[in-house]
Amino acid sequence: MILAGMLLSFSALTLGCVKKSEVLVSDKQVVEQKPVEVKEVKKVEIVEKQQSVTVMKMAPDSKQKVAPKPSGLGLEQLVERLKKTEAIGFLTKLAIRSDVLDFKKAVESYRKRGENTETLRSRFDGLVLKILALLEHDPDLSKDIHFARESIWKSLVEVKS
């Protein structure tokens, strides 16, 4: 009897423990679920804020990209700066000079014969690209030449024709 009573009490205790633990687990689940929902809501709010921030940041940059910089530099000034720059060596400068002289001859022949400007333009673009690539260590001059490209082309082809 004593043994039976002990077994019954033990089983009752174990059942109670199980029930308590289940209750505890269910309490934890309830308690744990609530902050998860709160976190998700907070995350959504943060993402929305980040998106709004990125939009606010992008707006002035896009405006800066759209607005072109005025060149404000003449061909003679650019040539002088090319002569003075230390980003290009003496021999390379001479090589560029001979390329430019060849191009000038091509422009003169274009004026005489009235050839197509597309080939001349592609040659001009190639020459400018070469110079810009060489001016890797002088970004200011490179930038100015890039912005003055169209005015140089017009001065070469349109003015004297």
Binding site: E86, G89, F90, S98
Partner: protein
């Protein structure tokens, strides 16, 4: 503190043009004329000039090709391969 200040100053200094060495200059000229060089610096540079004022420069590229750069008295530059 001083070190941090110096590093910050170096970061915000404007980028200025760096002087090019003769070996780099010759290599750039060779590549500008459409010849392969395999590097940005040449070696074994030999210079000479004739009575007419033409300048002859011979140099070896990192890829083993040896080139002759002719600079005429008028300033025209031409490159030809020697080997």
């Amino acid at each position: 503190m001083r070190v941090v200040f110096v590093i910050m100053a170096m970061l915000f200094l404007p980028v200025q043009a760096q002087a090019v060495t003769q070996a780099e200059d010759i290599a750039t000229t060779i590549m500008l004329r459409g010849h392969p060089c395999g590097g940005s610096v040449v070696s074994q540079i030999q210079e000479s000039s004739d009575a007419a004022g033409n300048r002859i420069i011979r140099a070896t590229c990192p890829n083993g090709h040896r080139y002759q750069v002719d600079v005429s008295s008028e300033g025209r530059v031409s490159v030809r391969r020697l080997n």
